[in-house]
């Protein structure tokens, strides 16, 4: 096996855009990864820069569950749960073109910041075609610009069962929908510990398919936080303001202001405040089948901090200053009153 790593940097790297790396490294990863003559995993490391070229894997790869495309931002280079223009970010203004299109099976993304800032109504930050073996982990997906009446931060048309797993990811879309799931009914998409707040239409939506959601939060959506009936029966520990969270152990945020939940939601900071109702009400997913190969398997949150005790809901795990875990709410209130 010959794994290959290439870098995307503003200078001194192998490529100066993610798109060039994806196009230039196209090939058969199961027999000849990066021209090595052997099978291997292709890792594309993205370093601090603003990339303005919309990217696509194209369909010219051959991949497998063992030999996949791994697009990553190294931990030391990564955002820490809030959009950071000084870290790697890909912003496109091209109409109808997603910031990143995944058109190849077995592609993983870790730590990316993607934004679609065009003016066309139908556009996405991250578009996943009808594929399998896709993992989206620790990403921030932000729709900006104008128009966007049918825009989505994340969108997939996948149909195969459990084909796309999205974890520790934040969707920001003041123009329409945060997470748009696929069409399969078995379910096809898994959302764990994802956050979608103040989306103009829905936080989590689904065309026709069912979706497995755990530890997700949506709030202040223009239409509804979650699409009715989208949640697979096993969905649990999700939070909503409007009572639409599927399916069991719903955490109600009804009547609770964003300022009592997040540090600064108005400015895209979805870290939890000390007494957030999302603290210690999630499910521990580190050994969950669909969390395998994601940061959740290592009990990490979007900041790379360790989730401990009873997990929190959303992309962030509250960790008190000094690194300790949050106190349970009743202890917090006991100690402060």
């Amino acid at each position: 096996m010959s794994d290959v790593t290439k870098t995307v940097k503003s200078s001194g790297g192998d490529y100066t855009s993610l798109n060039a790396a994806l196009a230039g490294m196209s090939g058969n990863l199961t027999t000849n990864c990066g021209g090595t003559g052997s099978a291997g995993i292709l890792t594309i490391e993205c370093y601090a820069m603003q990339d303005t070229t919309a990217a696509s894997t194209g369909t010219g790869y051959t991949t497998s569950s063992s030999y996949y495309i791994n697009i990553t931002v190294p931990a030391a280079e990564r955002h820490v749960g809030k959009w950071n223009g000084d870290k790697y970010n890909l912003i496109t203004t091209a109409d109808s073109t997603p910031a990143l299109t995944i058109a190849e099976n077995y592609t993983r993304c870790l730590g990316l910041q993607l934004s679609q800032n065009g003016g066309y109504n139908t556009r996405q930050c991250l578009k996943v075609n009808n594929l399998t073996g896709i993992i989206i982990d620790t990403c921030i997906l932000k729709v900006g610009g104008t128009g966007g009446a049918s825009s989505e931060s994340f969108s997939t048309s996948c149909t195969a069962t459990y084909s796309v797993v999205v974890v520790n990811t934040i969707a920001i879309n003041p123009l329409h929908t945060g997470f748009q799931a696929g069409e399969g009914g078995s379910p096809s998409v898994v959302f764990y510990n994802c956050t979608a707040v103040s989306c103009a239409y829905k936080g989590f939506d689904s065309y026709r398919g069912r979706t497995l959601l755990k530890n997700c939060v949506a709030h202040s959506s223009g239409n509804s936080d979650y699409n009715t009936g989208m949640g697979d029966a096993a969905s649990t520990n999700n939070a909503s303001e409007d009572g639409s969270a599927p399916n069991t152990n719903e955490v109600s945020l009804n009547g609770i202001d964003l300022t009592d939940i997040f540090v600064d939601a108005a400015n895209g900071d979805y870290h939890l405040v000390v007494d957030s109702p999302l603290i210690n009400v999630g499910a521990d997913l580190h050994s969950d089948t669909y969390a395998a190969n994601t940061s959740l398997a290592s009990s990490l949150d979007i900041d790379g901090e360790t989730r401990s005790g009873t997990w929190d809901i959303g992309a962030d795990e509250y960790v008190a200053a000094g690194g300790g875990s949050a106190l349970p709410n009743f202890m917090y209130h006991y100690m402060h009153h």
Binding site: T16, A20, A23, S26, G58
Partner: protein, 123 residues
């Protein structure tokens, strides 16, 4: 003033419909400002660079466009690029003694003087 990064090899997919979404030789992969410092692998054998010192980035941005199904509510992408640059024709022109508007700066890097001249190589 613009520089184009153009793929210099074909990728393929066995499924003909999927193959329309595969990167091909001649596709414009990136458009950058004049003087851009390209990466170590953004050169032959993978890429050809065309320099357009008298052409604005906005004038060549259209070569990055993909083709979409306008009748589909999702505007599904049906081709990864609308246009290709015929690199063989660029090479032939650069070698012609009579051609003054297409100049080989060095192998894999060609300078073209106008967008009209570039369009002669667009398929």
């Amino acid at each position: 003033m613009a520089e184009l990064l153009i793929l210099a090899f074909d990728t393929s997919n066995k499924d003909p419909e999927q193959d329309r979404l595969a990167w091909k030789k001649g596709h414009v992969i990136a458009v950058m400002e004049d003087g851009h410092k390209w990466g170590k692998e953004e050169c032959l054998p993978k890429f050809h660079i065309i320099k357009l010192p008298d052409v604005k980035v906005e004038e060549v941005q259209k070569y990055m466009e993909s083709k979409h199904d306008l009748f589909d509510k999702e505007r599904r992408q049906i081709e990864i690029r609308k246009y290709k640059i015929d690199l063989s024709e660029v090479d032939i022109a650069a070698k012609s003694a009579r051609e003054k508007d297409v100049i080989t700066e060095k192998e894999g890097i060609t300078k073209i003087t106008s967008v009209e001249k570039l369009e002669e190589f667009v398929k």
